[in-house]
């Protein structure tokens, strides 16, 4: 059992408020992604859970046990650090085995785990090398392997795939999801990459300015953003927000806009066309406001053309223009 309860955690560095009275409950075996822009407090929250940073207020419970005042080693967790923190004086195999050796695991188990995680992270050819002889991406994989090797009940990861090249990242993402689900590891995964969060997480917590802006399933976060910030941070390209009547904003995803016949929708003057293969991305203006439209497939559209748009009514998300919060959707 390694559910986590974060109870009113706040953290201030001098005058900087990194976290503001934050509550979060992660169920046993759940995968939660902390998603947010750089500087929103993701790393700080992770470090407080790990016991590397002392919270200004609040408690952390792991598996029902209050660990707020316990040192990191007594919390029964593993962590992947943002800057790898791979031990430079140890070979890759000794790095991976470090946690198990400290726990005085049996030799056979250590060997088995090193071989298994090295295989998983494609590190087998490098086991005898020192970290200085590895690329950034390889070092990052060593950091992940070191954490997986201890088979932790709770795994904290701070942007663990950020330094891998695109293809490897995609591979590793799928592998990681598979391994962690199979092992039933409770995972908190920090990322600023919304695709990664969507792909991996059972639930996503969107952080902004030291608060949780919204927490929910990837689908809920994507389709029903609770705030304007969530809508514009999640999704690439982000949600469009168009001024409407009565102080409302109309939030609509670029792919939820259809082209209609002349005169049947909003006039849209195309300024940029980006054919991406699976999609064609249009950027232009409607009524003086910038709008992005994603059309499935390839279209031949010239920049400067005028098209007519109609947002799908069931996909519109109404927001309060003043507060940026979602309104009761019946109004739409």
């Amino acid at each position: 059992m390694a559910g986590i309860v974060i109870d009113g955690i706040s953290k201030a560095f001098g005058n900087t408020v990194a976290l503001a009275a934050l509550d979060l409950a992660v169920a046993d075996r759940e995968f939660v992604a902390l998603l947010g822009p750089s500087g929103c407090g993701k790393t700080t929250l992770l470090r407080i859970i790990a016991g590397l940073e002392t919270a200004t207020t609040g408690r952390v419970l792991i598996g029902g046990r209050d660990v707020t005042n316990l040192p990191p080693r007594a919390r029964g967790l593993a962590m992947v650090f943002q800057n790898y923190a791979v031990f430079p004086h140890l070979r890759v195999c000794d790095n991976i085995a470090f946690g198990l050796k400290m726990a005085r695991a049996e030799r056979t188990r250590i060997d088995r785990q090193v071989a298994r995680t090295a295989e998983l992270l494609q590190l087998a050819p490098y086991l005898d090398r020192y970290p200085a002889q590895l690329s950034g991406g390889q070092r990052q994989r060593v950091a992940v392997a070191r954490a997986l090797a201890v088979e932790p009940a709770l795994l904290l990861m701070d942007e663990p795939l950020s330094n891998l090249d695109a293809l490897l990242r995609l591979d590793m993402r799928a592998e990681l999801k598979d391994v962690l689900r199979e092992a039933g590891t409770t995972t908190i995964y920090v990322t600023h990459d919304q695709t990664e969060a969507m792909a991996l997480a059972d639930r996503i917590a969107v952080l902004h300015g030291g608060r949780i802006e919204q927490i929910g399933s990837p689908s809920a976060i994507y389709h029903s953003p609770a705030t304007r910030f969530v809508g514009s941070f999640v999704g690439s390209p982000p949600m469009n927000f168009l001024r409407a009547d009565a102080g409302r904003l109309m939030g609509i995803r670029p792919e939820d806009i259809d082209l209609v016949d002349a005169g049947a929708g909003l006039p849209f003057r195309v300024s940029v066309v980006e054919p991406l293969g699976a999609q064609t991305l249009l950027t232009g203006t409607t009524d003086g406001q910038v709008v992005r439209v994603a059309l499935p497939g390839e279209h031949v559209i010239a920049a400067g053309a005028t098209l007519f748009l109609r947002p799908r009514p069931d996909r519109i998300r109404w927001m309060d223009a003043a507060t940026g919060n979602a309104l009761a959707q019946a109004a739409g």
């Binding site: 590397l52 080693r73 650090f81 923190a85 791979v86 031990f87 070191r146």
Partner: protein, 267 residues
């Protein structure tokens, strides 16, 4: 390109000469016998090399003993400097405490305090404590001289080791102490070795405090100063050579670690 290379090579030659010429002069005078000392210009390689002077010198009453005491004192100084300097350096590097900067300056100020003024009270104090004329007493004084260096160097050493490495060790099951032992110390080792050697060399070369604080159990420097002032020049050179050789040899032995330390520093 070629001029830059020329300047570079010239620099290398000048620096090497700066270090090597005096050593060569001392070695030549020590090994070349009486005739060579007066000779000028000196031959590049002395015509009649002999260890006679050195042998005679070593046979002088008390030289062997002084050599041993020097060694004893230098090793003690090295041990004390490392044992006290590392924790202090670690504290300076890792914790921000009230007065850390003042502490830093104070450490340096101890070096600005002239030993000459301290000599008499120290001697009196040491006599009272039973430390006068012992290797331990001189080693303590030398530790006081070497410690500022040991503290400041190890502080910058520990500062260069990312805190995240220690944190990773804590997360993966280490206590603060075992993390320091398993992660920090191995990474700091080259610098620690350099610090230790520096303490050794400071002690080995120090003459004033060693002379003041001892009477019969003198270190080699103090002994040479007291006994050899009136001896023939060639014996003085032999003494000089004997003083240089261990320092140079020691540094030569650990040069790999020194380079390793600079490698870390430049990364």
């Amino acid at each position: 390109m070629t001029t830059r290379r020329g300047i570079y090579l010239l620099g290398v030659v000048v620096l090497c000469a700066w270090v090597l010429v005096p050593i060569w002069l001392i070695a030549a005078n020590a090994l070349g016998g009486q005739a060579l000392i007066a000779a000028w210009p000196k031959p590049l390689v002395p015509t009649q090399m002999s260890l006679d002077t050195l042998r005679v010198f070593l046979a002088i009453e008390g030289v062997g003993r002084a050599l041993w005491i020097s060694f004893e004192v230098a090793v003690l100084c090295m041990v004390f400097s490392v044992a006290l300097g590392l924790p202090a350096g670690y504290a300076l590097a890792r914790y921000s405490f009230r007065g850390a900067n003042v502490f830093r300056v104070m450490i340096l100020l101890t070096r600005a305090f002239p030993v000459g003024i301290l000599a008499l009270p120290l001697t009196v104090g040491f006599i009272r404590l039973g430390l006068y004329d012992t290797a331990l007493g001189v080693a303590l004084m030398h530790t006081a001289l070497a410690l500022p260096f040991a503290v400041l160097v190890s502080a910058s050493l520990f500062q260069a080791i990312p805190r995240e490495l220690e944190e990773a060790a804590w997360v993966f099951g280490c206590t603060r102490l075992s993390a320091a032992w398993r992660v920090v110390l191995p990474l700091a080792a080259p610098g620690v070795v350099a610090t230790a050697i520096f303490a050794f060399v400071i002690s080995w070369n120090e003459v004033f405090a060693a002379s003041v604080l001892s009477a019969r159990n003198r270190t080699l420097t103090a002994y040479l100063l007291a006994v050899l002032a009136d001896s023939p020049l060639t014996y003085q050179f032999a003494g000089g050579l004997l003083l240089i050789v261990p320092s140079v040899g020691f540094i030569f032995l650990v040069r790999r670690h020194l380079f390793a330390m600079w490698g870390i520093a430049s990364r």
